[in-house]
Symmetry: C2
Subunit: 338 residues, 2 copies
DNA sequence: CTGAAAGCGCTTACAG
DNA sequence: CTGAAAGCGCTTACAG
């Protein structure tokens, strides 16, 4: 810092206006002065003051990313950095910067969102949230602040959002287990707060219905979505005196815990029980047995979220857009019964 | 946005100066006017313009976090979000915001660091880097820009940095394996670019020396540090016709891959080969067998990094500070020979 | 093609 | 205890 547009102007014997225009590639500046100015900028290692520019422009080219942190452990889940990397990648190409806020409760989220939107520090917000009730969403809509949600929201037609088709994902996974010969399939990790789990459950039920398998509520276990609670959830099922032939867990981590419990109780995966997860964490491939999962393409989720934000920023016609990111079933040993 | 300090001033029948002072809790403002002003601020939902304030203050209360992204997959490693969460947590308490930049090469890092430091957008930088040669470090020092490195740098006495004591970590882990009866211990994942791996190797060698075990260079395998390359690295060792009684991998992910290869070759962990990793990823506990590792307390690394930045910002006496975050050996089944 | 001037929304030294 | 004014470093409509 230190060297300002004024310094450049003096050194180049022009006005600050001209320097500003040269930098902005304003075509009204002659090639000659432009060259002279750029040479001096180089020599003096001048970088425009981002803050002053933002104040004059009433736009910062900064996008706020708000994440639910500690409480849900979402931050620790491998898909989180992947989403962030996706956002950052597209943001970078568009000369945007990313301000990241980790919040620990809906109250804190509300406060942060209030500040980010009102203080002029961000041009838009990307919310990593798939909660059923998220007051920030309606707030953002009310004040017409540009934002995109990663995770299908309740009022999906009044919001810009990006997500996988989790109903279809749940369906495909269930169908896969049925194809493998499972009929009594446990479903672990439903959480009424998270739409993603409800959607996957919906797909599960649809697949069962399509194959004339009645839904057995005893096989559906509520629990934390992203956590190491799979061990406990699996225990709950076995404690009911049921040994399902298949298990679907809402996240790979749940599946790992479930498998651990099964092994401890003398049940082999996949031969006694086929087990699958979702989200294809890096380790699924190294687990014993390698875990069948679903690749949700988190990088693309993030990248697309930013693209949606940009599209909104550049269009004068207001609309609510959504993008569905394809997900692929990754079949591994944990569901391949011999 | 929209409502400015001027609007508040008019509504309160005072000058903008007075509003500004009231907000800043300047004691010269009477309790009465202060109350009046705050009431109106509340009513009109006024939030000071962060950008204007920053321009006037010549300080943004934003800290830039620079991460090596794609290439090294560091972003995907669970310790990364943990570090970030630690930084965010302390930053939040100090009313700082975090701007995150993911870079894909040293060149890109250089460019981003140049921009972050020169454009006035950040008050300081936290670099997540433990590379042996990082030109950004000397650059930041040269221009005397406030910064903290997570990861011990080469010129450790001229830099603010935070890290574990990786030599000691390597020593402890090696000693643990020796105590378990291993004498020929392979060391996987040394990478001359990353000081952390060199430090752990150093500790390994020291432990061997202290127990009168000669170093066998054939047991030391270079490779990517954070990746899923453990399978290949383990193969390299066995291909030499060596079956070590113990294996230390520089990261848990490497250890997972190594175990997979051992298993495929009929070797049981831990009875035939004891295996340990570092960094205690969430899954180590669920792996079969549960993996011995080292908890590096990544959250604390991040939190402390920000504290170091704050300490530097608040002190008029320049100094180079470092903080060593304690790490704990987490002994699990993978190294417990019967 | 270029410049002088006003303005973005704050803060703060100076004056009273 | 409060206000008028200058300034932070840019951008841009207006004028030439």
């Amino acid at each position: 810092m230190g060297v300002t547009i004024e310094d450049i102007a003096k050194a180049a014997n022009v006005s600050p206006s001209t320097v500003s225009r040269a930098i902005a590639n304003n075509p009204r500046i002659s090639e000659k002065t432009r060259k002279k100015i750029f040479k001096i900028i180089e020599e003096m290692n001048y970088h425009p003051n981002y803050i002053a520019r933002s104040l004059a422009n009433k736009s910062t080219n900064i996008v706020g990313v708000v994440v639910m942190g500690t409480t849900e452990k979402a931050f620790q889940h491998p898909f989180f950095p992947e989403i962030l990397r996706g956002i950052a990648s597209v943001a970078y190409k568009n000369k945007y910067k990313i301000l990241i806020s980790s919040v620990n409760s809906l109250d804190e989220e509300k406060q942060i969102v209030g500040e980010l939107t009102q203080s002029g520090i961000t041009d838009g917000i990307i919310l990593l949230s798939s909660r059923v009730k998220d007051p920030s969403i309606s707030y953002l809509s009310d004040i017409k602040f540009p934002y995109v949600i990663v995770g299908r929201p309740e009022n999906e037609n009044e919001v810009n959002w990006v997500d996988n088709d989790n109903v279809s994902i749940g369906y495909k996974m269930t169908k896969h287990l049925i194809d493998m010969g499972c009929t009594d399939i446990a479903f672990l990790g439903v959480n009424s707060e998270f739409i993603v789990t409800l959607d996957r459950l919906k797909g599960y039920k649809m697949a069962l219905a399509d194959h004339n398998i009645p839904v057995d509520e005893k096989l559906i276990v509520e629990g934390k979505f992203v956590d190491d609670a799979g061990y406990e959830l699996m225990k709950k099922v076995l404690d009911k005196g049921i040994v399902p032939s298949g298990v679907i867990a809402c996240d790979d981590f749940l599946a790992f815990g479930a498998i651990k419990y099964l092994n401890e109780n003398g049940l082999k995966v996949p031969d006694d029980v086929a087990v699958a997860g979702f989200n294809n964490v890096p380790l699924s491939n190294y687990f014993t047995p390698p875990l069948t999962s679903v690749e949700i393409n988190a990088f693309s989720l993030g990248a697309k979220a930013f693209e949606l934000f940009m599209a909104g920023a550049n269009s004068e016609f207001k609309s609510f857009n959504r993008a569905i990111i394809p997900a692929e079933l990754v079949i591994r040993e944990s569901t391949q019964k011999k």
